[in-house]
Amino acid sequence: MSTNDPNTGSVADAQRATNEGLREDLHDLAERTALDLAHRRAVRTASLVTSRSLWLVLLVPALAVVVALVLNLLRRPEHFWRTETLGEYVGTALLLSIGALVPLAALVAHRTWRAYETRATRARALAVLDRHLGLADRLTTADEFLGFSGRNGFEMAAVEDARDVVSKARGTVLPQVAFGWRPRRPEWAVLALALALTLLAARIDPGHRLHHPDGQIEEETASLGEVTVLDTGVERTASESDAESDVPETPPREPRERRTQTAVRADAKATEVPDQVKESKGTTREGESSDAQSSSGAGSAKGTPSNQEQQSAGEAKAQQTPKKPKPTEETREDEQQEKKRAEEDSGSTAGRGSAKGSNKNAVATPWSSKDQVDTPDDQQIEDDDEFEDDAEEQKARGGMQPNMRDRRPPVSRDLSIGFGNRPNPDANGRGGPSEQKKSRGTASLVLGVPVPDRVKGQPNRGKTKITQERVEPRAEVADPVAAGAREASQAPLGNVPSPQSSPWMRDAVRRYFVALRASEAEVPAPAPSSDD
């Protein structure tokens, strides 16, 4: 073909124009697909970053709690928020909640924007479109071949192939993806924790003002224990709630000096109503633990019947053994209460004036002494003491001599009669009347050789007995497998391992048979039967 032919030139021009149009179409398709891909990537990135960085919502509430506690310790209420009214509390909580979302939102926005800004290359965008429409890389191939200067027949045919499918691709939009993050169980836990921290941070109010009855205002810091009780409400009892609800308004707090004086009076009253002491646990005020209040009650029990101290001891015991079953504890306390009343009626004045407030009588009655040792803890303590005595005694001897404490006198071999209660003056300790022998055994014969004949807690391991018996093999019932029609094998058969081609298999089989023959050689041959 000659290029001077006007028909050929016009065809070439037309083809060139067509190719330019195809190139522009491919460019538009690539741009639009790249935009769609950027949008999809941004949505996926947002979902992924939200899921992975959800812990950031804990940052601000945790920081607020720390700041509140630090300011609380530094007593700088002027740098903190006020939550005296419900409105202030709700406002503070809302503010903290919004603040908690700020770090996560900032990170998600940053990553999402970066993902959106990163655009796919032209080849990749066309490849995605090819894959989505099932075009077998026609668009990508045509885009590449359009850049060639001298195309052969197959390349030109490939370009023409793509021209037919461009119109189909032009009307195609990649399916968009939705924001796919849904909180799962651990993520719900993180959100709940963030909410709890937010509420806790909003609840801590070092600037809470206390009103005295005489109008004096005192600033007090809230203790962490009080905050915990107020937030969780787990340790509140129904009686406390009822008691608080019965009070028409918040009782005015007293200065510490006055409260100490009133505490003495209140503790003195506690001897009359002992349950109040128990009820007052958990409602202690700031800066004063329940133990301190309990001890002050015990100290004020001087000169009073020891009944108060008994109550304190009972409470202390109940605190030490919280795992005991409750009904047993209650019945035991009831019995003890009855016994105490009986003791008070009879001889409880014996404990009057005792600084320790013990309820034990100097002369214990049989049932009261039983009461003293009735508890299993006491029994356990005694057992432990006995054991420790033994151990310490042996330890004190350094394990050099046997423990002779429980040794009994030897059997008397006194064959003579007539000495009465007097010992035989001719006794020599050997087969005749003698004094009680001091020691016996090898340890007494070998001087200076430590041979402890009893070691507590270390019994002999004993002998291990192994019994072997010959068991005849038994037949088991097996269900026969029914033959069925088999389909043609679709999957390749693959390599079938061959003993010839696998040396390790040959070695394994060889080792097995060598071991089998060796074991057979060790077993003695059975004796020939008489029939043979």
Partner: protein, 340 residues
């Protein structure tokens, strides 16, 4: 040749159409004697037209030898069959100089060529021969020539070695060396026929009517078809994808999945990438396209790579097969545009 076949887009379309029709005619003629096994027939023809050799693996009685014999008849090619045995020597395959008596009563050495000198060579049960004899095929398969003494014989194109082996019966066999395995373009697994195909197989083999296979092509046409295959262009991204697939089988490479790193001792050589593209070209032509797509390359991956992957001891003990390795590579190396 390529320029003659596809100078313009019209000639390219014409050549592709001719290729497709001839391929279909050969498949149809082979199908007269070979019932079912369409994938195997297609794979053998693809390897033949791509200019490679093929290794058929399957249990006895599945028609491997029949397939190759029928193909030789349909293509009207010079066909020879070698039954490999353990006592076979290289001279039995390549040919040797024998002492012959001349007309004048004298003697002289004359070269008698072996069965390797043909267009289509069926190496039946190739793994029964010793490695020494198997090595006699290396030069013929790669260089298309054999050298005996000081004589070198150039083999006539088209030249194709079709070998068969039985994967089950391994007594007295010798596994093919890696160098020879690598020279096979495809390794095809011949499976059992379907239930619907058994009836026709029985009719063909137990009745009085024999399947008449006619020659529908010849050596020149096969050579032309090979030229058309070579003319099919490969886009850059498809080439890159084929390279990454081959590198995915090589332990320690950037594209190797964990399964390959743990269980493969030896991956594919660059011959694997060549085979992927050649097989992809034939597949693209058969699909009516004029360039190789990534899906063409991926479709040939099992046939091309399964005999080029050597599973190590750890993999063998875990029951890892080469096909599973190829599956892992295909899952790891995604096609272009697959991940949106």
């Amino acid at each position: 040749m390529t320029t003659e076949v596809a100078a313009t887009s019209e000639s390219a379309r014409e050549a592709a159409a001719q290729f497709t029709s001839t391929f279909a005619a050969i498949s149809r003629e082979v199908g007269k004697a070979m019932v079912g096994q369409e994938d195997v027939v297609r794979g053998v023809l693809t390897a033949l037209l791509a200019g490679g050799h093929v290794l058929l693996e399957g249990v006895p009685g599945l028609g491997k030898t029949l397939l190759v014999r029928t193909l030789g008849s349909a293509l009207d090619l010079d066909f020879s069959r070698i039954q490999f045995t353990p006592d076979m020597m290289p001279a039995d395959v390549q040919g040797a100089q024998v002492l012959v008596e001349t007309e004048g009563g004298g003697h002289e050495l004359e070269f008698r060529q072996g069965p390797l000198v043909a267009n289509l060579v069926l190496a039946d049960e190739i793994n029964r021969a010793t490695p020494k004899t198997q090595s006699a095929l290396l030069e013929a398969m790669q260089e298309r020539q054999i050298t005996v003494g000081n004589r070198t014989i150039v083999l006539e194109e088209p030249y194709c070695v079709m070998a068969t082996q039985n994967p089950v019966e391994q007594e007295g066999t010798y596994p093919l060396p890696e160098a020879q395995l690598d020279r096979f373009l495809f390794k095809l697994i011949v499976g059992y026929p379907k239930e619907s195909e058994y009836g026709r197989i029985l009719d063909l083999t137990t009745g009085s009517d024999d399947a008449q296979v006619h020659a529908v092509s010849n050596a020149a046409e096969v050579a032309k078809m090979r030229a058309i295959v070579r003319a099919v262009p490969v886009p850059e991204q498809t080439k890159t994808h084929a390279i990454r697939l081959v590198m995915g089988t090589q332990p320690g490479s950037d594209y190797a999945p964990k399964l390959v790193n743990d269980n493969v001792a030896l991956g594919s050589s660059p011959r694997g990438a060549q085979a992927l593209l050649l097989g992809g070209k034939v597949r693209a032509l058969l699909a009516g396209r004029f360039a190789v797509a990534a899906e063409d390359v991926r479709a040939c991956a099992h046939d091309v790579l399964r005999h080029r992957v050597l599973v190590n001891f750890h993999g063998q003990s875990d029951g890892i097969t080469p096909d599973r390795v190829v599956d892992a590579v295909l899952a790891h190396v995604q096609a272009p545009g697959a991940q949106v």
